[in-house]
């Protein structure tokens, strides 16, 4: 007899996400926040000069998604990511459906990885949608014009567009680590509110750590710092160091979190429901 694949579990996890309000809450915010941000840019004469690309937001729409990525890393994108990743295991406990799905023909490992993939997929889609809306709204407000890189070189609008795309891709690295931490908290606490809030607290506390005297040296190894790695792409020549560091630092957060979650998920007693 052929057992169902992990891909089948994954597909049905996505199907469940499509039927839940929470999913649309996240996607809705992913659309509305960049729109509101762009409208504010259009209406106000000034610009946020203290952040990279802040000064160019009136010159080119390409700068707007980049500034969004910067501001969004503080709590907006971690929140959207955690909204689903923090719920995806815990909601089975809260609905009492854990026992329902674990008495069919799929191994617990398959259920777990189906959920991990679904949470990753959602985070990916939410960030892409958000950046996409920021880009389209930005182009509408500030035009499709050349972009000035962090090294001061002007790159063509077309090249700038691909760099924005690549930046969003690099941004996914720490996003997936945040999703992994949310999944761990979801599995361990069995409570989605606790997991969402916990993930957010974790990401905020990391940003505060560097303010503590003597701990500034930790900065390159904090997950929050990896949200700036994409800026390496916007230098000439491209600086790969922060991107490579983002890859391994984020993995150092994500892999242990997923392993802990997996072990807890495999060993746990399903007593509720």
């Amino acid at each position: 007899m052929k057992s169902p694949s992990t891909f089948t579990v994954y597909r049905w996890e996505l199907r469940k996400l499509r039927a839940q309000k929470r999913t649309y809450l996240g996607i809705g915010a992913a659309i509305l926040v960049p729109m509101a941000f762009t409208i504010a840019v259009a209406l106000r004469p000034g610009e946020p000069r203290d952040v990279p690309f802040g000064r160019y937001i009136h010159q080119t729409g390409l700068a707007i998604p980049l500034v969004m990525l910067l501001f969004g890393s503080i709590w907006f994108f971690p929140l959207i990511t955690a909204l689903v990743a923090g719920d995806i295991v815990a909601n089975e406990d809260q609905n009492g459906t854990m026992k329902t799905i674990l008495t069919r023909s799929v191994e617990r490992t398959q259920v777990f990885f189906g959920k991990v993939l679904a949470a990753f997929t959602y985070a990916f889609i939410a960030v892409v949608i958000s950046a996409g809306f920021a880009l389209v709204a930005g182009l509408f407000v500030s035009g499709y014009n050349p972009l000035t890189s962090l090294s001061g070189q002007v790159v063509s609008a077309n090249e700038g567009l691909s760099l924005v795309g690549a930046s969003v891709a690099v941004y996914m690295i720490p996003i997936l680590a945040i999703a992994s931490i949310a999944l761990m908290l979801s599995t361990v606490t069995r409570n989605s509110a606790a997991a969402v809030v916990g993930t957010l607290m974790f990401s905020l506390i990391l940003q505060l750590v560097v303010i503590i005297p003597g701990l500034g040296g930790l900065k390159p190894y904090l997950l929050s710092t990896q949200f700036n790695a994409w800026q390496g792409l916007l230098r000439t020549p491209i600086d790969w160091d922060p991107i490579i560091r983002a890859a391994w630092v984020s993995s150092a957060y994500a892999i242990p979190a997923l392993l802990i979650a997996l072990v807890v998920f495999l060993r746990r007693d399903v007593t509720g429901g």
Binding site: K2, A19, Q20, K21, G96, K99, L102, T103, R108
Partner: protein, 305 residues
Amino acid sequence: MTSGPPVEVRGLTKQYGDITAVDGVDLTVEAGDVFGYLGPNGAGKTTSMRMMLGLIRPTAGEVKLFGKDPQESISALTGVAGFVEAPRFYPYLDAKTNLELLAALDGDGANGRIPEVLDIVELTDRAKDKVGGYSHGMRQRLGIAASLLRKPKLLMLDEPATGLDPAGMRDMRLLIKRLASEGITVLLSSHLLAEVEDVCDRVAIIRKGKIAYQGQLSQLRKEAGLSYSLRTTDDTAARKVLDSFTAVTDVAASDDGTLRFHPADESAVAQLSGQLTAAGAMIIELAPRSATLEELFFELTEGES
């Protein structure tokens, strides 16, 4: 492909901190049995069934379903279906989609059986409604439908009639009988003997995590028949005699003054009649009676008086 009886449980134990929810349970369900798993609330029925379905880890002991351990691989649940406590579904999906999801997790062409199982539990008309709006009885039926998707050879149902109205209970009983007649082995738990009496052929009675009785229901009935009732001219004197007579156990008085007891054997009854007369309690009635199963069940589970 399979070897061993549908359910074989040895020394099964589950400890929750200080509470021993299940305490060294041995249980065998043979192919074709309709097996009643009886015990009052909190006796450990659900906990043992969760272990049988691989949902929780035994503290000690083991479960084999058709020879396979559900702790080792989900493949032990091949041909096995059921639910513990109330069946649960995704409230935001309709019944049909819930079943499609579970069928996808079953594989083996389960998806093609959805119309048929919805029909069996008479939910076809409501298949497109969100389960969140379902009544308890409808969810219970959907739980059966979800189990039947797996074409089970062994069906484990934990108090499936609990919370149903009388009509729902009857339907549930008829459905279980029908499934059993189709050759499905059924393990059915209940805290009410009456609920399983006319469905089950074998029973186990669990009390405080331990098996108090296991065997044929007919054998249990026979044991129940060993009870006697006694009416005399002097209830107090009769009671004294019964209490001091060692060949008699489980003495109890009913409201109308009738005394009940278990004699060790028939000669104990004969001896007793002599002693009663000597004590001045003249016998009005001394008769073997078939105690109801309720009484026996109560004695086994609530202990001696």
